[in-house]
């Protein structure tokens, strides 16, 4: 599949667990931008595509909330005479009745629901995420500020705000909501360090200095296992951390030959880790030893060599997808089918991938 405009944002539709659906946003300073809605039909192995025009600017980030399949949080680059800034808003994809068609045609226009009022806080919205369970909250990084928004009202209001670092050039690269501990923690990454914050007190819980060489670009919490965080950065390594002891990573996997831009745990089988980077590669790797499916040592004693044969391939790169020709800035697992994922590269190419059958059977059986 090939788009024509550059793109750097993709997200999986998070509400409907029946549909394999992805949203992709385009990046164009001169022309009108679009949000593509891609529907994968497994039976016919075809992808339906709907295109909605997006008038607010370039799409830099997309997040689909878990409670509404038509809503979408977007980070966009708005250019106003002689200055530009990254802003964010919540938008609605119109529920078009006509079926998706293989050839792109404009299916309508994205409606603005609400905009985040960020210009007082900072210039650029760097990262945004919905509360993992509660639809009335969202976390956002604006320059060096961490903000919790209350979404209950018609326009979002600031619930709490924290300046992570006072130095002028500081930019948070990414912020992620920890799905454990009643969702009371948020992790941020800026430069080469990772920090975790308690959002009730806005105090630091722990921090990792020099997690990656120079820059940490991606974070993800293990959705099924507490205290388990993965990070990716400029050294091309995925590092797995136990947040109770952050002095050393639990596991380091060298996956990419250039910077890692995005990583994602598979929500159903968290030993599957997807990563993408500016070496134009998407890498599927296994991290069984730090996953929730890792058997306790005491359990495995009774079992036979079946577990041993599994352990042989536990922490390996499973497959490298090299279909992209430019840097891959964003990836997403499908919410409906645990074996399908999508990635988008800067040249606008979207690749739908699936976990190799042998791995699938190995995990299921």
């Amino acid at each position: 599949m090939k788009g024509f405009a550059p793109a750097r944002a993709i997200t999986s539709q998070a509400n409907d667990t029946e549909k394999v659906q992805f949203f992709v946003g385009t990046l164009s300073l001169k022309a009108l931008n679009h949000i593509y809605v891609l529907d994968y039909d497994e039976d016919s192995n075809t992808v339906g595509k709907k295109v909605y025009s997006f008038k607010n600017g370039e799409v830099w980030g997309l997040k689909s909330p878990h409670f509404d399949q038509e809503l979408l949080a977007v980070i966009f680059n708005s250019v106003e005479d002689s200055s530009n800034s990254l802003k964010a808003g919540v938008f609605r994809i119109p529920n078009s009745e006509f079926p998706s068609i293989p050839i792109a045609e404009n299916s309508g226009c994205v409606e603005t629901v609400s905009l985040f009022d960020t210009h007082k806080i900072g210039k650029n919205v760097r990262s945004l995420e919905w509360h993992p369970t509660n639809g009335s909250e969202a976390v956002m990084a604006v320059d060096a500020n961490l903000i919790i928004w209350s979404m209950a009202t018609s326009s979002p209001t600031i619930k709490t705000q924290l300046n992570v670092d006072s130095s002028p050039d500081c930019q948070i690269n990414v912020c992620r909501w920890n799905p454990h501990h009643q969702c009371s923690q948020v992790a941020t990454a800026f430069q080469s360090s990772i920090q975790s914050w308690d959002i009730r007190s806005m105090k630091e819980i722990w921090h990792i200095e020099d997690a990656h060489r120079k820059s940490v670009r991606a974070l993800d919490f293990n959705p099924n296992k507490q205290y388990c965080l993965a990070s990716g950065g400029n050294d091309g390594n995925i590092k797995y951390w136990d947040t109770r002891n952050v002095r050393k990573p639990v596991l380091v996997q060298t996956a990419h030959s250039h910077w890692i831009w995005d990583i994602a745990y598979n929500c159903y089988h968290d030993q599957l880790m997807l990563s993408s980077g500016s070496d134009s590669k998407v890498v599927l790797s296994s991290s069984l030893s730090v996953s929730s499916e890792m058997k306790n040592p005491s359990d495995s004693e009774g079992e036979t060599d079946q577990t041993e044969s599994k352990e042989i391939r536990q922490d390996d790169v499973i497959q490298i997808y090299e279909e992209h020709e430019d840097s891959v800035y964003s990836i997403a697992w499908s919410n409906a089918d645990p074996w399908i994922f999508a990635s988008v590269s800067y040249d606008g190419r979207v690749v739908l991938g699936h976990v190799p059958r042998s791995i699938k059977y190995e995990i299921l059986l």
Binding site: K30, V79, D210, R213, K214, D235, S278, S327, D347
Partner: protein
């Protein structure tokens, strides 16, 4: 007689017939024939000669005549003298004959008298013999009666052996006549005393300070007294063992004293004295026990049984002794224990021990003391090697620290970055020399083990394993792999070491590992082999190739790490300079940005630095001019593309950029780095330009910003091409940067190449 004279004559004639020809002319010969002589003279000589011969012969004849006369006179005198002497003798003999007949008669008289006396004395002699027999019997009886008292006295005087002798002398009689009432008393008395005697002797076994001699004597006495040999045997060994245990305990006290002592303590036995003490007490006495045991019990016990007991006994004692020795050699606590520092003393002491045990082994051929002691020696040698390995590691650690200090101070001083070109190579050779020297020192420390006069060296089950497993594997190979492992520790950036490691250190270590893999490892292993004269072979020996491969790998990893670290600072500079700036209100470019100039400067320094460490390597030289032109060509094409299509037609533009990508080579970021300057610098430049590309993509710029990028790219290209192995690589990557810059520009317009060049050169 007649026969013989004829034979002689004929033999003379036979012999003369052959020689008669020549001898017939010789005047002194037997076969001289006057006739032929005269004929010969008259025939062969002149008259004058004849006259001379004649007168000479005449002279000869007169001289011979006179000589003969003198001889006759002399002999005549002697003859007369002889005749007189003979006459005298005949008269003397007649006198003697009468004397002799007188003597004969008298002798006959004497013999008849003697016979008579003999016959008369015969009866008396028989009675004397009877009396003397009775006397000796009585004496024996007396002895028997006295026996109990004598035994008691001997006992009270502690003269045990005499008592036993006394008893033994009369035992047979006693046993024979035990039944007779007269003897019963004596016998029972004796038995009682004997019991006491045995008790007394047995006490010897329990005595605290009994020596081996006493014990073995006691045992032999008891044996003579027909005690149960099996019981005695055990008793003997038990008592001997006790005696030895005391000695071993004393030795172990010495060890404790030694362990507590410090360097200057003088009342501590040194190792040699200690071993001597041990040999002279424990081993000597053990030898004594073994020999006396064998002598005492070899007849009275079943040989296999007694041998077995003895062997078990000996083994147990030797084991105890070895336990003490192991402590003394500091084997019990390898880390903290005190050790003997002087290796040659160590070796000599081991040799003494070994020889002593060999002599002990000769008395007990069934026990392999050689094996046991070699095991101990091997242990000591292994622990020595372990210690040396620790020393080596420490030494390497301090060389590393020196190296880091040197780098740290030099980076402080050389703020301008102009390090001398020999600086880094000198650091490399410095640390390699240190490694070399350390290994050689260790090998020379081990030299005492090579002394051929040391007996245990020649034991094959010591020497070969020692050389291969302990020295070659346990020390040298382990040391080398420690070095490569230690170097690799600088890779993991979670190690505190790695964080503090400067990039220069990585470069030095990489070069060091490279040199090690190409020569040093081979050299050191060969040196070891030469020193110890054992060629490494077998499955337990790590092949050289494995070690060099490890170093090679470490070297490459370090180099990659160097490339990454060295690039990082510039990448940060590049990223910051691009990302932290408002490009939307950018002034018209006047020159390349300072950050870009700085980067070019730094790369030049890196190039010089890496060039001092590695060879240049080959460049894919295609001529600078054409390549620079091709870069402009690419920008110009872009410009044309831009001008031809409308600004809003982004579809065409990105399509065009994709098509263009098809024709340009894709830059392989993962291309392996090799050990050449060009390869290293190329890798750094690639990382830098890739980072530049990524940075450009996250900003939004206006037309002046785009112009600035044009200028920057041109500037970078005109300086960077000379550092990389393929100029097209720089062009391609800068093209990518320009494409992205175009994409990120809100109102793209392109400066003409000449304008770009002039702005860029304004700085240069």
């Amino acid at each position: 007689m007649a026969d013989r004279s004829i034979k002689m004559k004929s033999s003379v004639e036979q012999c003369s017939s052959s020689e008669s020809e020549q001898n017939s002319l010789d005047i002194d010969s037997k076969h001289f024939q006057p006739q032929s002589y005269v004929e010969n003279l008259t025939k062969g000589f002149s008259l004058k000669q004849l006259m001379e011969t004649e007168s000479m012969l005449g002279k000869d004849i007169t001289s011979l005549d006179s000589e003969m006369q003198t001889l006759v006179y002399e002999n005549y005198n002697k003859f007369i003298l002889a005749t007189e002497t003979i006459k005298q003798m005949t008269s003397d003999f007649k006198q003697m004959e009468t004397g002799m007949s007188n003597l004969m008669a008298r002798m006959e008289n004497l013999s008849s008298f003697s016979l008579e006396i003999n016959s008369r004395l015969q009866p008396k002699r028989e009675s004397v013999a009877r009396i003397s027999e009775t006397h000796s019997l009585l004496k024996k009886l007396q002895h028997l009666y006295d026996l109990p008292t004598k035994l008691k006295t001997a006992l009270t005087k502690k003269n045990l052996s005499q008592a036993v002798e006394l008893y033994l002398r009369s035992r047979i009689v006693l046993e024979q006549y035990r039944e007779m009432p007269a003897f019963q008393g004596i016998d029972s008395d004796c038995m009682a005393t004997l019991g006491e005697l045995k008790e007394e002797i047995r006490k010897n076994f329990d005595m605290e300070d009994a020596t081996i001699e006493v014990i073995s004597e006691s045992a032999s006495l008891l044996l003579k007294l027909n005690e149960n040999p099996d019981e005695l045997r055990l008793l003997f060994l038990q008592s001997g063992g006790k005696c030895l245990s005391i000695e071993i305990a004393e030795l172990s006290k010495e060890v404790e004293v030694w362990q507590k002592s410090n360097e200057n303590d003088t009342n501590v036995l040194d190792l040699l004295a200690f071993i001597d003490l041990g040999s002279n007490t424990v081993i000597t006495n053990l030898g004594l026990i073994v020999t006396s045991y064998k002598n005492l019990f070899k007849e009275c016990c079943s040989p296999s049984e007694s041998e077995k007991t003895l062997i078990n006994f000996t083994m147990a004692l030797v084991k105890n002794y070895f336990d003490v020795l192991e402590k003394r050699y500091g084997l019990d606590c390898p880390k903290a224990g005190k050790r003997e520092e002087n290796v040659s003393v160590l070796v000599r002491s081991l040799d003494k021990l070994y020889n002593k045990l060999q002599t002990l082994g000769q008395t007990l051929p069934d026990v392999d003391f050689g094996r046991a002691s070699t095991d101990l020696i091997s242990k000591v040698a292994r622990s020595l090697c372990d210690r040396l390995l620790e020393d080596l590691k420490m030494s390497f650690e301090s060389s590393l620290n020196l190296l880091r200090e040197a780098i740290a101070t030099s980076s402080l001083q050389g703020e301008d970055g102009t390090t001398s070109p020999t600086y880094i190579p000198s650091l490399v050779s410095q640390i390699l020399n240190a490694v070399n020297q350390d290994v050689k020192n260790v090998l020379s420390t081990l030299e005492p083990f090579l002394d051929q006069s040391i007996t245990f060296i020649n034991m094959p089950y010591f020497y070969i394993p020692f050389c291969l497993q302990d020295v070659h594997e346990g020390t040298i190979v382990k040391y080398l792999s420690h070095i490569s492992g230690r170097c690799e520790e600088f890779l993991d950036n979670n190690e505190s070491d790695a964080k503090n490691a400067s990039v220069d250190l990585l470069l030095v270590l990489s070069r060091m590992c490279f040199d090690a893999s190409s020569s040093t490892v081979q050299h050191l292993l060969n040196y070891t082999t030469e020193q110890f004269r054992v060629r490494p072979s077998g499955t337990n020996v790590t092949p050289t190739a494995t070690i060099t491969a490890t170093f090679r790998k470490a070297s490459l990893n370090l180099l990659n790490q160097y490339v990454a670290s060295e690039g990082d600072n510039m990448i940060t500079l590049m990223e910051k300079s691009i990302e932290n700036r408002n490009w939307m209100d950018y002034p018209e470019p006047r020159s390349a940005r300072p950050a870009v100039k700085r980067i070019v400067e730094v790369i030049g320094k890196i190039d010089a630095k890496v060039g001092s460490v590695f060879e240049d390597g080959s460049r894919n030289d295609r001529g600078s001019d054409s390549s620079r032109l091709s870069y402009f060509g690419s920008v110009a094409r872009q410009t044309r593309g831009l001008s031809q299509t409308s600004a809003s037609s982004h579809v065409d533009r990105s399509l065009m950029s994709n098509i263009q990508k098809l024709f340009s080579e894709k830059v392989d970021l993962t291309a392996p780095v090799d050990f050449t300057k060009v390869s290293v610098v190329t890798a750094i430049v690639k990382n830098l330009l890739k980072a530049m590309l990524e940075s450009v993509r996250v900003i939004t710029i206006d037309r002046h910003g785009l112009h600035q990028f044009q200028v920057d790219c041109h500037f970078l290209h005109s300086y960077l091409w000379r550092f990389v192995n393929d100029e097209s690589l720089v062009s391609t990557m800068l093209d990518d940067v320009m494409h992205s810059a175009l994409n990120r520009c809100i109102d793209p317009s392109i400066l003409s190449p000449s304008a770009v060049e002039s702005i860029s050169e304004r700085v240069a």
